[in-house]
C-alpha cells in the first residue's frame, strides 16, 4: 500500500509536470510580454532588454522551463531576487513570490470550499435519500426538479441574485469580504454565507441526484432484501444496507469536487470579490500576470491530482473488497 501510494504520487507529479509544461508553453504563446508589462509607462527598448535578461526571458524556452521546474524543487533567483522553495515563480506586478500570494489566499478559498461542501453534502444527500425513499411521490419530484434547477443556475447568476436580494434589497447580510474566522467568527459566517449557499446550490443538486440513484440502486440489491428478510427495522435497513454502500460513489465525487474547489472557486470569488485563490487567478488573467496564472494552474491541478489519489486510497479503506484484494 505504501509502495502503491508512492507510485501514485509519482504519477501525480508526472501529470503535474506535463500540465506545467503545457501551461508554460501556452504562456510562451501569449502576446503580452512580461518584460514590457514590468517596465511600465516610460520604458526604453534598452530597459526592456535589461528586464528581459533579469527575468531570464532571453533564454530559450526549454532553459526557462528547466529553471522554473528547478525553482519549484529548490528555489531560485531572479536577478538579485531570492525566491525560496517552493518557488512557483515571482510576480513582478505584485512583487511577491507566487507561493506567498497563493498561501495568503488559501484560507479564504478553504473557508468557502469547506463551508460550501458541508452545506451541499448535508442538503444534497438528505434530499437524495428522502427522494429515494419516497420515490415517485411529490417529494421525490420536487426534490429532483429543485436539483435540476440548482444544477442549471449559472453560479454568477445565483451570486448576483442573492447579492441583489439579500444585501441590496433586504440588507440582511453585509457585502462579503475577507474576514478571518479567528478574528471575527460572526463576520466570517456572515461573509461566507452567500458564497456557501451559491456554491452549495450548484453542487447539492448533483449530490441529491447521485445519492438518490445510488440509494435506489442499492435498495434494489439482493442484500437489502436479505436485511429485510432478517426482520431488521426499516431504518437500519436503509442506513446500513442502502446508504452505506451508496455513499461510496458520493465520497469519490466529493473528493474530486473538493479538490477542484480548493484550487479556487473562480467565478464565486470573483463575483463576491473575495480574495481567494480563484480571485487571484481571475485578477492575474485580467492583468496577464503570467507567473501567477501559471502558479495557480499548477496549484489547482495539484489539488485535483492529489484528490484523485486520496479518493482511491479512501476507496480502498472503505471497500473491503479492494482492501483485501
Amino acid at each position: 500500500m505504501i509502495l502503491y501510494t508512492a507510485r501514485r504520487l509519482a504519477g501525480a507529479a508526472g501529470i503535474l509536470l506535463v500540465i506545467c509544461a503545457l501551461t508554460f508553453a501556452v504562456f510562451y504563446l501569449m502576446p503580452a510580454d512580461p518584460a514590457q508589462g514590468a517596465c511600465g509607462k516610460a520604458c526604453s527598448p534598452e530597459r526592456i532588454a535589461q528586464i528581459r535578461a533579469t527575468l531570464g526571458l532571453d533564454q530559450p524556452l526549454p532553459t526557462q522551463f528547466a529553471a522554473y521546474v528547478g525553482g519549484i524543487v529548490a528555489g531560485r533567483t531572479y536577478g538579485s531576487l531570492e525566491c525560496g522553495f517552493p518557488c512557483l515563480g515571482f510576480s513582478f506586478q505584485t512583487n511577491q513570490p507566487v507561493w506567498d500570494a497563493l498561501t495568503s489566499r488559501l484560507p479564504t478559498s478553504v473557508s468557502i470550499a469547506a463551508g460550501a461542501a458541508v452545506l451541499w453534502l448535508l442538503v444534497g444527500c438528505t434530499a437524495g435519500v428522502v427522494a429515494a425513499l419516497r420515490r415517485g411521490t411529490v417529494w421525490d419530484r420536487a426534490a429532483m426538479m429543485a436539483a435540476l434547477g440548482g444544477v442549471s443556475l449559472p453560479i454568477y447568476l445565483t451570486a448576483l441574485l442573492s447579492q441583489y436580494v439579500l444585501v441590496v434589497q433586504l440588507g440582511w447580510l453585509p457585502y462579503p469580504r475577507e474576514v478571518a474566522l479567528t478574528d471575527d467568527p460572526v463576520g466570517w459566517f456572515q461573509s461566507m454565507l452567500m458564497p456557501w449557499c451559491t456554491l452549495a446550490m450548484l453542487y447539492a443538486g448533483v449530490y441529491a441526484r447521485i445519492t438518490r440513484s445510488e440509494v435506489l440502486e442499492n435498495l434494489g440489491r439482493d442484500y437489502v432484501r436479505t436485511a429485510r428478510a432478517k426482520g431488521l427495522p426499516e431504518v437500519t435497513v436503509v442506513r446500513r444496507h442502502a446508504l452505506r454502500p451508496a455513499l461510496m460513489p458520493v465520497v469519490t465525487i466529493f473528493g474530486m469536487d473538493l479538490g477542484a474547489l480548493l484550487g479556487g472557486a473562480l467565478i464565486t470569488e470573483s463575483v463576491y470579490g473575495l480574495p481567494g485563490v480563484g480571485k487571484l487567478a481571475a485578477d492575474a488573467i485580467n492583468s496577464s500576470d503570467q507567473p501567477v496564472i501559471l502558479g495557480v494552474t499548477l496549484f489547482a491541478a495539484a489539488f485535483v491530482v492529489l484528490a484523485n489519489v486520496a479518493v482511491d486510497l479512501v476507496y480502498a479503506l472503505l471497500d473491503p473488497r479492494v482492501r483485501t484484494a
Binding site: 502503491y4 507510485r7 482511491d312 476507496y315 480502498a316 473488497r321 479492494v322 484484494a325
Partner: protein, 322 residues
Amino acid sequence: MSLLETTDLVKRYPVRHRLTRRRIGEVSAVDGVSLGVERGETLGLVGESGCGKSTVGRLLTRLDTPTSGQVRFEGRDLGPLSEDELRPVRRDLQIVFQDPFSSLNPRHTVRQLLSAPFRYQGLEPTEPVEDLLKRVGLKPEHASRYPHEFSGGQAQRIGIARALALRPKVVVCDEPVSALDVSVQAQILNLLRDLQDELGLSYVFIAHDLGAVRQVSTRVAVMYLGVVVETADRDALFGHAAHPYTHALLSAVPVPDPDLERGRERIVLRGDPPSPLNPPSGCRFRTRCPKAAEVCAAERPVLREIAPGHLVACHFPEERTP
C-alpha cells in the same frame, strides 16, 4: 490424425490487484490439456465452475492464444497463424455460447446476424437466411426481428443457425443449454443431435451438467482445476468411472427418483475446489480426495490408459469392475 486436437495446452491469465493494477499472480486456467475430436463424434467436456472448460473452448476456436501447447486442425497448427490466415480456417471451426442473448448483437436483426458469417468471410451467401431459420426450427418471417424479441430457446437456435451457416466441420458448444429452462434444454439438445445426424458435424460439448453430457456425447473428458483427469467413451465413463473425482461428481448429481436418491451411496467431497491462483502441488484433486496419500502431493499423475480409450490421471484409480 484427429480432426481437431490439442497437445499440452496451457493458458495462464495474469491476475491484477483491483486497486493497484499490479500483477499479483497468475491463474492457471488450463494446464496441460491434450484432447482430440474425431470426425462425426461429440466430445463432452465436463467439470465444475472455473475448471477451465470455457478456456479450452476459446483456445480450440483460437479466440484466445494459448500460453503454450498446440491446437491443430486437420493437422495444421493454428498457433502461429495471423487473424487473416485464420479466417478460412474459421469456416470449419465454429462456436456456440452459453448465453444466447449476449452472444447476439442486440442492434442487428436476425437477417443481419445470419448473413454476417458470409459477409465476414467475403463469401456469397450459399444459403438464404430463411432456410437457415427453418433448419433450426424457426419461421422465415422471424428474419426481420431483433434478438430481444425472442425467447431464450429461440435465441439459442439463432446462435446455432449462425454457427452452422458456413457449414463448419467442428462446432464448439460452450454450455449451450445451461441458461435455458429444463424443457427448452431438451429441445436444444434434440436439435443439436438432429443437426449432427443431418450434417455430419463434430461437436465439442462443454457443460457442467453430467446428464446433458451423457445425452449428447460419444466420448467424455472430465476436467478438474485446469487439467483433464479422465477421458473415456461415454458408456465407460458413466458406467466405470476410474477417477475418484469422476466418481464423486457422478454420485453428487441428484436423481429425480425419491427411492433411488435416498437409498444412494453418496460420496460427499470436503471443501471447495482450490483456487486456480495457486493450485495444489502434485495431484490437483488431492486436497479433496478421499484416497489422497503422500505420493499425491509429490507427484503429478499423468493420463494413463487403463483400458482401450479410457485414460485416467490418478495414482489410485478405481478398479474396473466389469
